[in-house]
């Protein structure tokens, strides 16, 4: 495959991972546990956009908007119904991780019950552009641009707005944040809403770039975790860099695999290798604080 094409594919993959990983990492940072149900939030978002796009026949843009809002709401719902109660019970992060697995099972199989196990596609036009000997679809251009736009919006939110600063405050020191008059529970709602919403949009991107299946989120959750750990758990900027690194590693890695005539089915193993290397060499990740390990 041409180098240009590999670069284009890598940037697209990175753009799909980046929002998902940011969503995962901010929930991780504030609530201190690995939320495995993030995989199914991704899938849920993809199917919500499917309702808008295919069942209602509207443009996928509105589908992505609906995915953001509804998946954000689902994130809040999982917190209200499960995680908040666990916090009140004084349960530790380990129980929350196990509970997140339970939530994931319920969501995934409910999605499979509703839409069936077979793959479905969005109703989108596929115009293709040629640049420097590689090709890119119109959809992929949107994926890249929307990701960059959302990253910029989030950057301003975290640095300039009261909400963003309060979120950082709550994650760094919840007691201090509460003492300075921040309503912690309200901030947590926003964390879930934004984290879930980003997962939802990431799901739409993935669905538009490939297809929709009930395992859509599960297929990429390991890559998302690899991004989060490579970037440093809880690090917004780390996640951004790591997402594109992983995009490049996976696409170039797959190309090397096929050159070596090894099955490209091993694609997920690339994220796994990166995960293991980071854990051995620098468990705190690129931008993580040292004590994170």
């Amino acid at each position: 495959m041409f180098l240009t094409q590999l670069v284009i594919n890598s940037v697209v993959t990175g753009s799909i991972y980046v929002l998902i990983a940011i969503g995962l990492t901010i929930v991780y940072r504030v609530l201190k546990f690995a939320n495995f149900s993030h995989a199914e939030l991704i899938t849920f978002g993809a199917y919500m956009a499917y309702i808008v796009n295919v069942s209602l026949g509207m443009d996928l843009f509105y589908g992505a908007l609906a995915a953001f809002l509804l998946t954000g709401a689902l994130g809040i719902a999982t917190d209200r119904l499960v995680f908040k109660k666990l916090r009140k019970n004084g349960s530790n992060v380990i129980s929350m991780m196990i509970a997140s697995i339970g939530i994931g099972l319920v969501l995934r199989q409910s999605i499979q019950e509703k839409w069936g196990p077979n793959q479905v596609w969005y109703d989108i036009e596929t115009r293709t552009f040629e640049i420097f000997g590689g090709s890119i679809t119109e959809m992929q251009v949107y994926i890249i641009l929307i990701s960059i736009a959302l990253i910029l919006i989030l950057h301003f939110m975290f640095t300039r707005t009261k909400l963003g600063k309060a979120m950082r405050g709550v994650s760094d020191n919840p007691q201090l944040a509460m003492a300075s008059g921040i309503d912690t529970e309200k901030i947590l709602l926003w964390v879930w809403f934004i984290g879930g919403g980003l997962a939802g949009i990431g799901g739409v991107f993935r669905g538009a770039d490939t297809r929709l299946v009930p395992l859509l989120g599960w297929e990429i959750i390991l890559s998302a975790f690899a991004v989060v750990i490579l970037g440093g758990i809880g690090s917004f900027y780390g996640a951004i860099i790591a997402a594109y690194i992983l995009g490049f590693a996976e696409n170039f890695g797959v190309s090397i695999l096929s050159d070596l005539s090894i099955s490209t089915g091993y694609r997920p193993a690339i994220a796994f290798m990166i995960l293991i290397i980071v854990l051995i060499v620098r468990p705190s990740g690129i931008m993580g604080k040292k004590e994170a390990a």
């Binding site: 546990f33 690995a34 495995f36 499960v82 109660k85 666990l86 019970n89 349960s91 530790n92 992060v93 380990i94 129980s95 991780m97 196990i98 509970a99 697995i101 339970g102 939530i103 994931g104 099972l105 319920v106 995934r108 199989q109 409910s110 499979q112 019950e113 390991l222 975790f225 750990i229 099955s263 089915g265 091993y266 997920p268 193993a269 994220a271 796994f272 995960l275 293991i276 854990l279 051995i280 468990p283 390990a293």
Partner: protein, 296 residues
Amino acid sequence: MLLDYVLDMLVYIGIFAILAISLNLEFGYTRLMNFGKVAFFATGAYTSALLSMTGASFIEGMAAGMLISALLGLLVALPTLRLRADYLAIVTIAFGEILRLFFLNEVWFTNGPMGIRGIPQPLYSVFDNDYMLFYVLLVYTTLIICYLFAERIVNSPFGRVLKAIRDDEEAVQAFGKNTCMFKIKIFIIGSSMASVSGSLFAHYLAFISPDMFYPTVTFSVWTMMVIGGSANNLGVIAGAVLVQVFERGTRFLKDFVVLPIEPSNLRVILIGLLLILFLLYRPDGIIKEEKNRGLL
């Protein structure tokens, strides 16, 4: 027909009870978050199946599976056990998936998605008509050995260190114990034990394929442990009975009643719900750990 059904369920209960005990050693007593239990179960199944296809005996296959699982367990444990609990969870879940991809893609070795058929069953010619009955005995003998072994471990000085690590690792380190070594050892033991149940599984079905080793297997074992009562070996066996009666029951039921939901979906949804409800309302499970405080 009904008797066969009951015996089949008993075999499944026994096999999964062994898995649940092995997870209990790792998580219940030591707080190691192994989300890749299925990897070691699959290793046992595949090693046993592949070796017996080349003429090795059941015992040899099982022993080889235990050895390979122990080595794989060591390999996974080394980079992760000295780190935070959540890293182990992520790495083991990933490891299980990669191993499944290996079984799926290396067709020359494992026959890929078509799976391995005609795995020889131990002493089949001797028992012939009563084979199911024999297999139930075989599984339960193994289960009893595993149970006694696990009880022996947790009540030994070694086991007390494990429980102390779970409750306060820093305090144990302050006493000069190398906690990492203890964690690695119990992880290896748990992995080998999971492999034993994998061997029993492969030889029982006489057929295995990669799609039997999805992560749902791991989480079904977690559900058994959580609802049974983590850190109580009898409790987790009770959990295995409940979840298996329920899983097998819905399979059986669908032949007689029309369910509004696809039974395979319903099964997983209810397992997820059980897991959540127990964590919320009965974190100690059905049977609490003896003389200790609640743990989850």
